[in-house]
Symmetry: C2
Subunit: 204 residues, 2 copies
């Protein structure tokens, strides 16, 4: 495995990035199981052995892909993770995020959905990773709704935990439907409609 001690050569860095890029694309399209290291290496202009050399194993590459995907997702957030936005701000952000995804980041969304579905079962290698990520998102939403109920900007007779799950479910499902049928599913429009309705419902 490279980079443990000694120097990092720029050629190696470029190759690794090329491999991760190739892996992201192929994993998103065919899943981890459906993608062989040979295909990834070829797309990156290298051999399977070179790939193993850089990442130790296929699992090592998967780990690197996950970290890179996280990095990209955070980068796009452009908002401190400990911010406390209002309901309207948060809803607006979800709609904008959907817009951005629909316009330029189909790949990352497909990676997320494909790998999530590949790891539904508790025994799966990345099950905990995706399960905990879902929990974190719901906890975040739960805090948002709890805050809004406390400061009076939303009605307080709805269970914030159920509400959080509902929102998370909608977002996840909307992305899935859009990935499956982008010609007939307008990711942005459905987000706009849903969050407008939700805002209305919470105001009542």
């Amino acid at each position: 495995m490279a980079g443990v001690k000694g120097q990092v050569q720029k050629r190696g860095v470029a190759r690794r990035r090329a491999m991760v890029d190739a892996a992201i694309k192929l994993f998103a399209q065919q899943g981890v199981r459906g993608t062989g290291v040979a295909a990834i290496a070829e797309r990156a202009g290298a051999t399977p052995s070179a790939l193993i050399h850089h990442f130790g194993s296929k699992d090592g590459l998967v780990q690197a892909v996950l970290e890179e995907a996280d990095r990209r997702a955070l980068e796009r957030l452009s908002v401190p993770p400990d911010a406390e936005p209002t309901l309207d701000q948060a809803f607006d952000w979800f709609v904008r995020d959907a817009e951005h995804t629909a316009a330029t980041e189909r790949e990352l969304a497909a990676l997320h959905t494909t790998l999530t579905a590949e790891n539904l079962e508790p025994g799966a290698a990345l099950h905990t990773w995706f399960r905990d990520r879902g929990r974190a998102l719901r906890a975040h939403l739960n805090a948002l709704f709890t805050r809004a109920a406390a400061d009076g900007s939303a009605r307080a007779d709805l269970d914030p935990a159920v509400l959080a799950t509902e929102v998370a479910a909608f977002i996840e499902g909307a992305h899935l439907l859009w990935l499956l049928d982008p010609d007939e599913v307008d990711l942005t429009a459905v987000h706009r409609g849903y969050f407008a309705g939700l805002a209305e419902r919470l105001r009542t």
Copy 2:
């Protein structure tokens, strides 16, 4: 392939059903790509050769699994496919369906979600099947909302197509979240919450 001409023997019928049952369970857990014919055959108490004999190929088995899953899904519907329920009836049915799924049919839900995600890409073998199934559901919902708007039982200023996509997205996403984390996601509760809110929103 069996059954083309001549008689069907009951032993063969039983074996085929055992194989389809085994395949449903394993496909639901690990996807089609992640499941080998050997594993399916073993779980059905047979050999890979016997499986190929009955279904011609792995793809043939997948087709049989899809048809059987359809059969089971329709069977549980217990409602004529051309019925024209009211909004409240339809919403109630969705909640009951979620209840039933959570209680006794996790497997079928997992099969649906796993195979859908495995066939997001247009090139995938079953892409069209799942895409068209999604379209049919949305068309069904669209008709429901259009009817409700026309007869005055729901407000008419919302796009029924967007609404239909929203509902489909929620249902799909809720199932996905529940499959990933059944301990923390209450499929029934989130359905109840969502459809109660939706009914309220449409009444306004």
